[in-house]
């Protein structure tokens, strides 16, 4: 267990993010980011699964429980799944999970699903940096502050089309 892991001090806080990437697209993309020497924040640790359909909500919860500050899920773009539709299954679970997480006070930015095609090394870079930046702002994931004031079960806004579009400002 990571219980012995000291929490980073508030200043100099470096988020710890665990990424679950599917083997075919997103993991390949992060390899491509590597072979293209795209530099990005060192805060993520990638766990490879064969398909985003393998990503069990329990992994996400366990990851947060073990002290991660963010979880990034990555799969093939809609229509590109190596196993046809694992990414859709992932998306549906994810949307439901996010509603629960919102109720538990886990900020929206902490758990993110991205479709990243094998050729999009630059998106691995962009998404990672963006997420690290966002979570740096949020600070450490302090679930120990539960119970929290009621949170509206925020509607999840992570749409297939919107993924990656990156809203303005």
């Amino acid at each position: 267990m990571s219980k012995d892991t000291p929490l980073p001090s508030a200043e100099g806080f470096e988020p710890r993010i665990v990424a679950f990437f599917c083997n075919w697209c997103t993991y390949t993309a992060s390899d491509l980011a590597g072979t293209s020497r795209m530099q990005y924040a060192p805060n993520t640790r990638v766990i490879r699964v064969m398909c985003s359909g393998r990503i069990d909500p329990r992994f996400v919860l366990q990851t947060l429980r073990e002290g991660a500050d963010g979880v990034l899920l990555g799969g093939c773009r809609p229509g590109d799944c190596h196993y046809q539709s694992g990414n859709y299954k992932c998306l549906r679970r994810f949307k439901l999970l996010k509603r629960y997480l919102a109720q538990m006070g886990v900020e929206n930015e902490r758990v993110r699903l991205e479709w990243i095609a094998a050729s999009e090394g630059d998106r691995v870079q962009k998404v990672t940096n963006e997420m690290v930046e966002q979570i740096r702002k949020l600070g450490h994931c302090r679930l120990e502050q539960i119970p929290r004031p009621e949170t509206e079960p925020a509607a999840e806004t992570h749409d297939l089309e919107q993924v990656g579009a990156g809203g303005m400002i």
Binding site: W24, A33, P42, I47, D56, Q62, A118, G121
Partner: protein
């Protein structure tokens, strides 16, 4: 056979090898530190760093340790598993250890190459090593599955790449299916006039190969056909091919052309631009792309033929054909084939010069692309080999512009590799045919292959004027009387450092090479990847340049990236050899990362059954539980994640292994 064995009785004895990869890793990651850190992890018996783990001595070191220290688990922290997982698994297997007791930590692609700060890189590497060590402790002994491989090979695309691959395979005694979308094989090479650098006539070297394909007993050639669907996996692909209706019976047609003469579309204005001549001439509804087309068989264009569109035509073609080969009742036919390997040879598409409006293509009549001029200078082309402009005149001054659509971040950032040489070829040919003054506007001259620089040297000596500068604009805006009525090329002569305006009669745009329009669709259909610029992605640019990330599918020719004919042919040969190596062996080993269901734990809730994309899960009605057919399971793990009873499990990706990895990556401070 898969053994579902829980963790072995014996305690894990783990060996960890931290690779320097020369300086690729060691320059960023403190490998000694990671090595020492690994040594402190539970279960680790040996921990070493090594310069090149994948080298022979590196592998021998691991094997020696396995024997001497009785290691039963191996972790190599090095590059991506996509690259060397197989290498090290084999290392383990050769030392008598089940290859699945091996785990890789990716500290190169995911760490040293992407991290700025060495401290952070080392920390990240430690985390990944910790995770791998914890994960491997939970590894189980599994056996590879062996599946028989079908001996047939499918080649998709009948350009020079596909032709060469098909012939190589067929000559090795394998049955080949060659599927070509157009009515004839030949691809772009068939459209070329002469080929650099030797300037041999393209048709002369290509046509014999085309007829070899047609006549080879081992090759089934299907033109005017497309692959609709691919399923299965390496060694056992099932492919559905759509043979589009030609409306001509291929087995009867002898290509005599009587039907074409008879076709009612006599007037040019009802005819359509001829694809083969890049729109420089017109064709009727029934046509053959070019005289040497293979097969020498007509085709009727359903978007053009009056009978097919409106159901109303005198059908003069039918009457004209003595062999009664015209058949308006033909419909698309779907053929299913089984093949062991697939070679993709779908080629390229020339850059659409209209996308650079400042060059005036499509706006000014006398702006051409190199491909169009290939047809113009060709003796069997629309002008019988005369270089005459659209207004019938012979150009006296010609400008050739390089890098059209290439090396341009607004379009394609890459260099198209063949267009410098193609431009030089045009300069040479046009000068030779017309005696015109030729200006060649280049950015950098790229002539790096055998005989290419020599060709450049020759063109230089022929008196072509070379101006180093990328053209800003081709315009009809005249500043001087001499410019009136001409196309003016505005450019900076960068070697001299002044702006110039060069009036010419004809402009030739050396268009770049782009991925085929439907590459994304093909990528999906064949389940392979594309690189950033949209060409099919090879497994490794140097070490596996013809393999894809999908086992059993190989790449040949310009579909993988811009290249010229010598390179295309070399690659096509390589792809054929790889395919041959696969189908000739007769079987493939398949990773046993399949799912299985724990009988006692399954409640028979049926959640998993509809989720399997390959219908691998069925319900055993007697036991009222779900069962995975592991021959059909491809190991996506969707059912595993969804099972609300924890009854479905996946070999190599068990819940426990992933939980260990989660805890491992987080326990790094």
């Amino acid at each position: 056979m898969i053994m579902h064995r829980k963790s072995p009785e014996d305690q894990p004895r783990i060996g960890v090898y931290v690779c320097h990869c020369g300086v690729n890793i060691a320059a960023k990651v403190d490998v000694e530190h990671v090595r020492d850190f690994a040594a402190s992890l539970p279960g680790v018996v040996v921990s070493r760093d090594y310069k090149f783990a994948c080298s022979d001595p590196g592998q021998e070191l691991i094997q020696k340790d396995i024997r001497e220290h009785d290691l039963n688990r191996i972790v190599v922290a090095s590059c991506s598993p996509q690259l060397h997982e197989r290498t090290f698994r084999r290392t383990c297997a050769d030392a008598g250890l089940s290859p699945f007791f091996f785990q890789m930590a990716n500290i190169r692609e995911h760490v040293s190459w992407v991290t700025v700060d060495p401290g952070a890189a080392t920390t990240k590497a430690r985390a990944l090593v910790a995770a791998a060590v914890r994960r491997v402790a939970r590894a189980e002994a599994l056996a590879l599955r062996q599946v028989p491989v079908r001996p047939e090979v499918l080649v998709v695309g009948g350009g020079i790449a596909g032709i060469h691959s098909a012939l190589t395979l067929a000559n090795a005694g394998k049955k080949v299916f060659l599927v070509e979308r157009e009515p004839t094989i030949g691809g772009h090479m068939a459209q070329l006039d002469k080929t650099f650098p030797t300037m041999d006539c393209s048709a002369c070297i290509l046509t014999p190969k085309m007829s070899d394909v047609k006549n080879h007993p081992n090759i089934t050639m299907w033109t005017y056909s497309e692959v609709d669907e691919v399923s299965g996996f390496t060694g056992n692909f099932k492919v559905k091919v759509r043979r589009k209706a030609r409306y001509i019976k291929e087995e009867l047609c002898v290509g005599c052309g009587d039907c074409v003469d008879a076709c009612v579309m006599k007037k040019e204005k009802v005819q359509v631009p001829d694809e083969f001549n890049v729109g420089l001439s017109k064709r009727k509804a029934v046509y053959m792309p070019f005289p040497q087309a293979t097969p020498a068989c007509m085709v009727i264009d359903p978007k053009q033929c009056l009978q097919l569109m409106k159901g109303k035509c005198a059908q003069t073609c039918v009457d004209a054909c003595e062999r009664a080969a015209v058949d308006f009742d033909q419909t698309d036919e779907i053929v299913e084939i089984d093949v062991g390997a697939i070679v993709m040879a779908t080629g390229f598409r020339p850059f659409d010069a209209k996308r650079i409006p400042e060059y005036g293509y499509g706006r000014f009549d006398h702006v051409y692309t190199t491909l169009e001029v290939e047809r113009l200078v060709n003796a069997s082309g629309p002008t019988g080999g005369e270089v005459v402009l659209r207004d019938g005149t012979v150009p006296k001054t010609v400008g050739v512009i390089h890098c059209v659509g290439s090396r341009d971040r607004r379009h394609n950032a890459y260099c198209s590799k063949v267009c410098c040489m193609a431009a030089l070829k045009m300069a040479h040919l046009v000068k030779e045919r017309t005696g015109a003054e030729v200006f060649d506007f280049y950015v950098d001259m790229r002539t790096p292959s055998k005989g290419y620089e020599e060709f450049y040297d020759q063109v230089l000596s022929e008196g072509v004027q070379f101006i180093r500068g990328r053209v800003a604009e081709v315009t009809d805006w005249a500043m001087t009387p001499e410019e009136e009525g001409k196309l003016v090329i505005r450019v900076e002569d960068t070697l001299i450092g002044v702006a110039r305006r060069v009036p010419v009669d004809m402009v030739i745009l050396a268009v770049g090479l782009e991925p085929q329009v439907d590459t994304a669709e093909m990528q999906r259909r064949f389940n392979i990847s594309c690189s950033q610029e949209g060409f099919f992605l090879e497994r490794h640019p140097k070490l596996a340049p013809v393999s894809t990330f999908t086992d059993g599918i190989f790449l040949a020719g310009a579909c993988q990236g811009p290249k010229d004919i010598p390179e295309v042919v070399a690659q096509a040969g390589a792809a054929a050899a790889e395919a041959l190596a696969l189908v000739d062996r007769g079987h493939v080993d398949i990773e046993p990362n399949t799912a299985w269901i724990e009988e006692e734990a399954c409640s028979g809730c049926k959640t998993c059954i509809p989720l399997c994309p390959f219908n691998a899960i069925t319900r055993d009605e007697e036991k009222a539980i779900a069962v995975v057919n592991d021959a059909m399971c491809k190991g996506c793990g969707t059912c595993v994640a969804a099972c609300p009873s924890g009854a479905a499990q996946q070999n190599m990706f068990t819940d426990e292994q992933i939980y260990e990895e989660i805890e491992g990556v987080l326990a790094y401070v």
